[in-house]
């Protein structure tokens, strides 16, 4: 069977622009959560989020002009700009530059989003109501369509292979990477630029998730403490924005061109809860079966896993349900498991979360270190699993798994392995 490896990574998140900045700040247990700057939050119960910090690239901040001309930025929603940024970083990092038509046709793109252009949809609805249909911009639809992240990236880089997009809420990034790896395994492409992007930190996005009772509201005065997976005081997730993109490549293809390899995509599993539109199944069965399927696909035993990057969004219900499912999966091996949620630092990037967390999982394998779960001061339940509270922990990591679960009861797990 064709093997798939990760040869490039890029990301823009509330922790800043670029993989190095993100990884350094994550290992230093810093938080990217702040008071919302982009709009007035007076009427909203949640006044904090993980917005992408703007400024100089040299300072680790995001300068959109480096990735898209200002005249083109006007025509797309932020999630597309973030995707373009993360994709450019990932492609450059991989060193992959198809020089002929055949190579371009063997290179595809699969960047999804949970919600897509929520901002322009809301703004255009107001425009339509106030000024009528003739004032609706011709760029409205292509600014908001979810698959236009993949479309824009393919146009910019000339990648003519499979062009696809995943929409599975907060599991989008993980599904995109898993599905893209399968496209390579199946032989439809040799290289896939895969990940997720999100920009739902807009009034209608915050109000909508508040209405679902999903967001934290208790930490508006101490934003950096708000996202606290597994902690007793957690009261909901903190929304983040940004994008994560990986370059996935067939192993022999990568080796032939002497590419740097972060890790192998060893296994991928999916499952549905068939339970509730927003709440996870109480016994975590969907997550459990996604993990079990990924492990089976990888051809390993649960006890072979050294590190898990948890979904762990800091919601009262979800964190413990996932923890229970992992304990059930591992049995006695739980006592030697290391599992952390990097959402304490980044907040929850919805459709981008699985992609940036896949990247963090690969970096954990590269550097043999588990990033911390920040703000975990008093765990709400006892567990034999080491949840890596507040301080990164050196661990021997051969095999690691990243979990992502989404509204609608959709669950995905991706297993990565160190390549010798």
């Amino acid at each position: 069977m064709r093997r798939v490896v990760v040869t490039g990574m890029g990301m823009v998140t509330p922790l800043g622009d670029g993989v190095d900045t993100n990884w350094r700040r994550l290992l230093a247990a810093e938080s990217g959560i702040r008071a919302i700057q982009a709009f007035d939050t007076t009427d909203l119960a949640t006044k904090i989020a993980g917005e992408v910090p703007r400024g100089d690239k040299e300072s680790g901040l995001f300068n959109a002009d480096l990735y898209m001309l200002p005249k083109d930025q006007r025509k797309v929603d932020k999630f597309i700009i973030f995707a373009m940024a993360a994709a450019k970083q990932a492609v450059e990092d991989s060193g992959w530059k198809p020089e002929d038509d055949e190579s371009r046709e063997r290179t595809g793109v699969m960047i999804g989003s949970g919600i897509g252009g929520l901002g322009p949809i809301a703004d255009t609805a107001i425009e339509l109501k106030e000024k009528g249909p003739r004032r609706v911009s011709p760029f409205f639809i292509p600014s908001a369509l979810i698959n236009l992240a993949s479309g824009q990236v393919s146009i910019r880089h000339g990648f003519k292979g499979p062009n696809h997009a995943v929409v599975t809420a907060c599991a989008t990034g993980a599904h995109a990477i898993g599905d893209a790896a399968r496209i390579i395994r199946y032989g439809d492409a040799d290289v896939m630029v895969a990940g997720g992007a999100e920009s739902a930190v807009v009034p209608v996005g915050i109000a909508g998730f508040i209405a679902c009772r999903a967001l934290s509201t208790d930490f508006n005065d101490t934003p950096d403490k708000a996202s606290r997976p597994y902690d007793k005081a957690r009261d909901g997730f903190v929304m983040g924005e940004g994008a994560g993109v990986l370059v996935l490549e067939e192993y022999e293809h990568a080796k032939a061109r002497g590419a740097k390899i972060y890790a192998e995509v060893l296994g991928y599993g999916m499952a549905g809860d068939a339970y509730h539109i927003t709440a996870p199944a109480e016994d975590g069965d969907g997550g459990f079966r996604a993990m079990r399927a990924a492990i089976k696909d990888a051809g390993i035993q649960p006890s072979d896993i050294d590190y898990i990057n948890a979904h762990g969004t800091s919601t009262p219900l979800g964190d413990e349900i996932e923890l229970g499912a992992v304990e059930r999966l591992l049995g006695d091996a739980a006592a030697k498991m290391t599992m952390s949620s990097t959402k304490g630092a980044t907040g929850h990037l919805l459709g981008a979360a699985g992609a940036i967390e896949a990247a963090f999982t690969c970096l954990a394998i590269r550097d043999q270190i588990a990033p911390p779960t920040i703000n975990l001061e008093n765990p709400s339940v006892e567990t034999p699993i080491d949840l890596v509270p507040n301080t990164a922990k050196p661990v021997k990591i051969e095999i690691a798994m990243s979990n992502s679960f989404g509204f609608g009861g959709t669950n995905a797990s991706v297993v990565f392995k160190k390549v010798a």
Binding site: P70, R134, R135
Partner: protein, 79 residues
């Protein structure tokens, strides 16, 4: 009249991200200024907004150069 020309050129510069010097009256939006079909739709909307006029679709299709836009607006603008 020159005021209308200047305002048209300013809109073209802003929307197409081109240099003011390129925006000559005989410059074609698509062939010379890098616009695509969606850009031209948006430009016409911007002209409508700026000059408080309505440019019907059949008239909009004939506006292919900067000069075409200036002439149409000179003939139709209320102000």
């Amino acid at each position: 009249m020159s005021d209308i020309a200047e305002r048209v050129k300013k809109i073209v510069v802003e929307h197409l991200g081109v240099e003011a010097a390129q925006v000559k009256e005989d410059a074609k939006f698509i062939d010379d200024l890098g616009a695509d079909s969606l850009d031209t739709v948006e430009l016409v909307m911007a002209f409508e907004e700026e000059f408080s006029i309505e440019i019907p679709d059949d008239a909009a299709e004939k506006i292919q150069t900067v000069g075409d836009a200036i002439n149409f607006i000179n003939a139709n603008a209320k102000s």
